[in-house]
């Protein structure tokens, strides 16, 4: 990791210092990793305040502090099982001990462990920007990442297992390899949501009600993780299976 590591007195200072040449520093597993692709002049260590480390239930939602580590989340009873399943996509214990829920969302990697599941579950993000505090649907956050580029994620709000059904699947050569494809489908009432992370292609939120058009528009590329044809086939067949398991009818074909 090149660049200066700076500590700040609190959220306000952290947010005020954030610009295009700085990055927030959470657990460090993404930033210190040599091929992280994150290159900043300064890294702002996220203030170590209690709310960032706690898991609480509020208004029927599970509120997870952004600095809650993967390991801590696995130990918290309130964290829904579907999110724990996604956390365990990260095989290495040492990484889970440092990786944070907020950091994984903020890095928005195309092989993200958590983002597809969070999208599928309809999670919300608690953000702190120069304009103040925001509560945003993760879908909205995904749609306009530029808008939130300087905002600090302070928490993630997820629905408990009783409110939403989630199926998720990660395809990778090995547990520790970068995922070729991470897919999650959620069902909440009659609403279905899909979260896709396709390595080197991006994170996608195809609209299931308009599947054919939105999926066609997704730019999926050939690379060392597989051909476009393979990734599309795998995505479609996996979603079909998930849709069927969640009680849907017709699948991607229709």
């Amino acid at each position: 990791m090149d660049g200066e590591l700076i500590r700040v007195s609190g959220f306000d200072e952290a947010v005020s210092l954030k610009d295009s040449e700085t990055a927030f520093f959470a657990g460090g597993t993404g930033i210190c990793y040599k091929d992280s692709g994150i290159c900043a002049k300064k890294y702002i260590v996220i203030p170590d305040e209690e709310q960032m480390h706690t898991v609480t239930i509020k208004d029927g939602l599970v509120q997870i502090g952004a600095l809650v580590t993967f390991t801590q989340a696995l130990e918290e009873e309130a964290v829904p099982a579907y999110l724990k399943e996604a956390i365990l996509f990260c095989g290495s214990l040492q990484k889970r001990n440092r990786a944070t829920i907020g950091g994984n969302v903020a890095s928005w990697r195309s092989d993200s462990y958590l983002v597809p599941t969070l999208i599928a579950s309809g999670a919300k993000l608690s953000l702190m920007g120069k304009e103040g505090i925001l509560l945003e649907e993760i879908g909205q956050y995904a749609a306009d990442r530029e808008k939130y580029s300087d905002a600090l994620i302070t928490g993630i709000l997820v629905k408990p297992d009783e409110q939403v059904q989630i199926l998720a699947k990660r395809y990778a050569n090995t547990v520790e390899s970068h995922a070729c494809l991470t897919i999650a489908m959620g069902k909440e009432g009659d609403t279905y949501r899909i979260g896709l992370a396709i390595k080197n292609s991006g994170i996608f939120l195809p609209d299931i009600t308009n599947w054919g058009i939105s999926w066609k528009k997704a730019g999926v590329q050939d690379d060392m993780f597989g051909s476009e044809e393979y990734k599309r086939y795998l995505t479609e067949t996996t979603l079909d299976t998930m849709y069927e398991k969640l009680g849907g009818e017709g699948g991607t074909e229709s």
Binding site: L5, K34, S92, L93, E176, S177, M224, S227, Y230
Partner: protein, 1005 residues
Amino acid sequence: MKIRLWVNQIERTYETCASKPLRDLLFEHGFSAVRDSDDYEGFCGSDTVLMDGVPVYSDLVPAALAEDTYIVTPDGLRELGILAASGADLSRSFFGKTDISAEQKKALEQALMLNGKSGPDCLTVVQQAMIDAGLVQSAYNAPAAALMLTWLLVQHPSPTRDQIRDAMSGIFIRDAGYEHYYLAVQLAKEMIENGSSSTEAAPSFRPHLRIVGKPAGKVDGPQLVRGEKVFVEDYVSQDACCLVMLRSPHAHAYIKSIDTSEAEKVPGVVKIITAANCPDTFYMQAGQGNPEPSPHDRRLFNWKVRHVGDRVAGIVAETKEAGEKARDLIKVDYEILPAVFTVEEAMAEGAPRVHNGIVEYRAGAPADLDEYNQDAGDWRDGKVIYQFPLGADIHHNVAASNSGGIGDIEKAFAEADAVVERTYQTSQVQQTPLEPHVCFARMEGNRLTVYASTQVPFHVRRIVGWVTGLPENRIHVVKTRVGGGYGSKQDILIEDVTAYASFITGRAVYCRNTREEEFIANSTRHPMRARVKMSGKKDGTITGIFMEVRANTGPYGNHCLTVPMNSCSKTLPLFKCANMAYDLKVYYTNTPPAGAYQGYGTPKGTFGIMMVMAELAEKLGCDYKEMVLKNHVETGYRLDILKGLGEGREGNVVPVGSCGLREAVLQGCDMIHWGVKETSSDPDVRIGKGFAMIMQGSGLPGLDHAEAIAKMETDGTVILNSGCADIGTGLDTICAKVVSEIMCMPMEHITVLSGDTDGSVFDTGSYASSGTFFSGNAAVVAARGLKEEVLKEAAFQMEEEKEDLELRMPGEVYSRKTGKTLSYADLSHTACSGTGHGTMVYHGTFVTAASSVPYGAHFAQVAVNTRTGEIDVQKFYALQDAGTPINPELALCQMYGAALKSIGHTLYEGMILDKDGHCVNANMTDYGVPMIYEQPEDFKAVLIDVDDADGPFGAKSISEIACNGAAPAIGIAIHDAIGIWLQDWPMTPEKILRKLGKLSAKADT
């Protein structure tokens, strides 16, 4: 900034940059067991520490964030065990807090319990358990693994299998696999509960022997598992310069000019070595016997670069940073040439010539050589010098070729009831030793000392001698402990240039490859295309086998003949077949270099030949198992096929010696319930079974050579100076055990000093599965000679007849006639006290024409998802005849490690090059290697008990053969599951889907 932290319970304050990785800070301050295997990739786990009781990768933690924390490093475990025994409060170090429960306190004390031994053998029970389980081998990660198991037992005193797997989830082990980590936890628990362990780590062999064939630990186990300073990097002096390499961005180009003037101005730059100022000496880097069956086709730096990552300049600088800064200032003007990356491209008419210089022969030059050389190209192509003819034609990119056979293959095919002919392709895979290639060299007076992590110290000395011009008496090679080799450290890949840099600058010089350099600039497995044709009769008799091998040696010809030869010489002799033929050609290309890799050419040949056999069985309507049993060789069968399959000379035609092949097949079939179809509850999943026969060698008869000197010290203890190179496999222990057995004395009274060219006598080194057979036999010869010397001297001192004397435990001479005894201590003291005959010593040399071949069979059960193409290896059984396994617990772990490695090769490992020859997955995460989660849930290694006439106490080789079975076993199992035959590695889900017609038939990405 200054930070304060507690390391292994001791408060320390360090001046550091805030963003410096914690690992670097700790390593710089002497905690050398906090190692780095992946250049801050967060993959291998060598950098694991506990931070306030939490395991973390210290590579990924900025030092500033460790302020006021309690750190435990792997090398602190024993001291913490001693502290715990004295009642110290270690709660902060292991729980991150002081208010722990009584149960937690008890768990902490128990996990850090000591083994009851003193001095250098004092270990924690976990460390002891790891040695007992056979896990401490090359051991670069063993201390980190011990830390994780200790942490596990602190958190979970009776861990489940899942908890053990989770604790090991971030530690990469390449040599010993992961299966015995479950055993180690069991052994540690037993030691905690009962003071000793009762579970056997491995079966024992040869009841009449005292220590050979019994699990007895490893002589260097304690120092390795404790994390002592035993690797090359631990010998580097403070004043050492760094050697930084400028590498080619092009796959094929002439260097038109190279300007180092700006770079030389960088403060701290000592010397820049390029093609313009390096010696005009052509050599090769393969660590093989001299004269080598590899062409001398390179200089230290060439005027032509032949692969992305080829050496362009070496910068010797006071610091790495200065070297890297200078590297960026070197201006190189390249004339880019068209490149070839596959054998098909290399063999095409008019293909660019990878080597196009003058060809010379040290012996056996063809009559038309002058004419041939008239077609040589630019002077910058240099030369290719053959030690003897290898069937080369560099104008067509052929580095070597050979063909031959027995019987009448065409007649066999013509008369057969069925013939199957298929072409198989294998990918370029990398050894990925945890310790990358490292070398430290320094001048001592007029002598050059080279600390090397090598399998071949004497070959290193010879080649360093060629490069520097120094005679061998002025070169001292010290083989340190080797943190993983697997063939890659059979080649002299950085020792040549590091030693030369020290020699010309007079400075101590250190060179350490980055992980990326390991991929792009080291040796790899030769990618290979094997066309195999096999014929048979309806009764299952195989009547003919033909193998056509086309191998890719990359830019240089290291092992170019012998690796492909192995594809045939270690596969065809599995069969009782009168008609066999082979034709092999090896091509130069512009891929990253190829070289030796555990298994050598055999895994690729075995893949093709066993897959074809399974397909032929199906075509003939025969049961595959019955066909195997009908056609495999047995003891006494004369192997005429070997005549043409020597290492560049005529091979030894010998009958099959000891052979446990049939027993391996039969026992494995019973274990896996061969013939019973398994089903899955998932309708998309099909289950299948497969197996493959395997064989290897035990060194190279008629070529390999090993020596050892056994010497009795004045107190009756013995030092064995062995030329052997223990690369973590326990060769020193083998030597100690055979001496102990022959001399009737305890292991602890024997020290093996090995791998030091000043302190020992010649040995060709550890490759070709030669260690146990050759170096072990040299130790046997030396010990038997010493025994004779002892009996002779004792007869003199005791005034008795030698024939009446015998050796007895624990190291004494006993007279059967008079009942008198004389201890070795008294005997040796007297021998050197002015009245005796001096030190009792014997110099043993071992050479042989005999060949002890290990055999085996590997079995796989796979579940294939027909919807997604995913393959799950549910079961893998490795059954091998290793003769007498001298270290059975180490042998089992080597089988697990090698088999798992080849499961990785079979399913996902493979270097991927872009169209310009850049490797796009030159890191551990993208390349992908098996971690504990990839291990088959049901994984068994079984030693078939077969004694051998020629091996030391009946031993044969063990680990290399274990690389050979996975690909065909899995490939056959996939066919059994879903009816498709895959013909290339890696067998990815995408390929499965294409074969199933779920994706178009276009080439895979």
